[in-house]
Symmetry: C2
Subunit: 354 residues, 2 copies
């Protein structure tokens, strides 16, 4: 049943040439092969349905044209669009993706180890950023292994990183609320005070805070909630906000650290009888497809996720082709404000001054 394996020698024999000639017509670079032989070889290849063994080729070339894509959270909304970007350029360049899911630092270390055994040519890390330092990545860098990170905040600036400017996005979001006339703010932050805080959550909180400070505003502690980036977390946080505030202390504008929590928030507000945007403006970060179809549609900062993937892949491929690391660089991508309905129009009266 199973096709017997046919090798380059079989082709050579059938075509009456040497294996190296076959190899040359296959890879066809420097060497010139006579037209007659070349055609004959090509024909035999087709006839025999010969399929070159890429593994054997890798042995000699010392390159597998394979890159390891290491991620921690498959269900992270960034994963799919980033991967699409990565895949798009890698495929065009003839590279394959080996997917490794690794939760936690230990998992990541294990994944690196086995992928190196598999002789991947390089890595793209798209894992959560849980801390600023990652010794195992610094080590990987020192071993000369080509890799690039997406969406991590490593303080080792000799590592090539693609970052999305979470701080700026939060700042922009908050400014947007300002520009609409709001002065009484609340937020549902991401996991900023768990044991290992997510760096993006920290940065988003920071951006929000900076914008407030800039305007000399402070926020009541009861208007600052902490969520966990989930729908449920956003829902609960908003419920709590409503429960612990009164009409007089309640914010008129909410910055929700990510889109999942924003959806949860919308629901809690609806159930609490608050209208968005009339009673409460809501802005968030993240522009998953459903964000445009909530009620009301969410004003959000769109993360340049597929671009991040493409850039990462492109830089890695350049590195691989050059055979040496590019100038280490941290590329920071900005988010784009997409105004929809959840923040409403500019406030008219001054009655909202908090």
């Amino acid at each position: 049943m199973r096709e017997e394996v046919i090798t380059i020698r079989d082709v050579a024999r059938q075509a009456g040439v040497s294996p190296s000639t076959v190899s040359h017509v296959l890879n066809g670079k420097d060497r010139h092969v006579g037209l007659a032989k070349r055609e004959k070889v090509l024909e035999v290849i087709r006839q025999l349905n010969y399929r070159p063994n890429a593994i054997a080729r890798s042995m000699i070339r010392r390159a597998t044209f394979t890159i390891g894509l290491v991620i921690t959270e498959l269900q992270n909304p960034l994963f799919v669009p980033v991967t699409e970007g990565v895949e798009e350029v890698l495929r065009a360049e003839g590279y394959h993706i080996v997917l490794a899911s690794a939760s936690g630092i230990e998992g990541e270390i294990r994944a690196i180890e086995t992928l190196r055994q598999q002789q991947v040519d390089g890595f793209i890390f798209m894992s959560l950023s849980l801390r600023y330092s990652s010794p195992h990545l610094t080590q990987l860098k020192e071993a000369g292994v080509p890799f690039i990170t997406i969406n991590r905040y490593l303080d080792d600036k000799d590592i090539n990183q693609i970052q999305i400017d979470d701080r700026e996005a939060a700042y922009t979001a908050t400014q947007h609320l300002f520009s609409l006339g709001h002065t009484c703010f609340g937020t549902v932050a991401g996991p900023i005070n768990s044991e290992v805080p997510r760096v993006s959550a920290l940065q988003r909180y920071r951006g929000w805070h900076e914008a407030l400070q800039e305007h000399g505003l402070s926020v009541l502690p009861e208007n600052v909630l902490i969520g966990d980036y989930t729908f449920e977390g956003g829902y609960k946080a908003a419920q709590q906000l409503l429960a612990q505030t009164t009409l007089s202390t309640r914010p008129t504008a909410l910055f929700i650290a990510n889109e999942s929590m924003a959806v949860g928030t919308l629901k809690a507000l609806y159930e609490g009888g608050l209208r968005v945007p009339q009673d409460m403006a809501v802005v968030t970060i993240g522009d998953a497809p459903f964000v445009a179809y909530t009620i009301p549609a969410l004003t959000a900062l769109a993360l340049p996720v597929d671009e991040a993937g493409r850039i990462a892949a492109r830089r890695l491929v350049e590195w691989l082709k050059a055979g040496q690391p590019p100038q280490a660089e941290t590329i920071t991508l900005s988010c784009r404000l997409i105004v929809r309905d959840s923040c409403g129009a500019k406030l008219k009266g001054m009655g909202n001054q908090g």
Copy 2:
């Protein structure tokens, strides 16, 4: 900078043994290696930070412990959870995943070709099912290549398939509406009449239709809309439904073929001034995380997606281990009805009879 490659010979030399001895302590099966030598070898391995070359090993073993995961639509909501299931069991079994995105049959054929060159041990296909016959898969089967499909409807019953029972899910959804007392129905179907219809859309339409027939009900053509499985598609379809129906002909219950379209529908209904579920009950198929947080929360049929992934991976691994195909089988998984708020309670009056 770059670590020089250290091979099994280096280890052997350092440890004062032969390469084959090192190989044996590494793979440690039949052969007994003296304790002293074994320890010495292990120590040298650690010292040198030796990393066996999996590629070289594959050459001899004729197995790469790698499987190709071929998908058409990265952004398909099934992709992430299915992949999680697949990854979970494959990793536990020591297999690696090579991800190949391939749009269309031609892309799939190309992906198969290059992955076979990469010597993957088997395949999992999680692509859209666009047609019932796929000659290239039948061919792959005949070549003796181990593979399994998820969510495809192939009429070649000699191929191992994992299916989700779309027809049944739609039937159940519709029955649920019935059980609540509805008699006037509408639907937003998936892409059932495009040039290459999606089989799942066809099946869901069929299940809906069967349930209606069973109750001897017919549906006004104007209450049957066709969408494209997107948020936008659902939104537009529902708008059209409202536009082309009057209060007297308008359905009281809607079956929306997937969750994205259901979200769009909810928005259109809201904007049209219809309350869900009071004025219109809505049920859908697909239970992406956001489905529980729409307003109102959607009653939906949850697809057993991660289970599908796990089963597929498990069966494939068994096949690989056995070295021969299992009894060809099409495993059909059922969906689970999750009742939330979008269908409301049982209708009281009889005024809704259509």
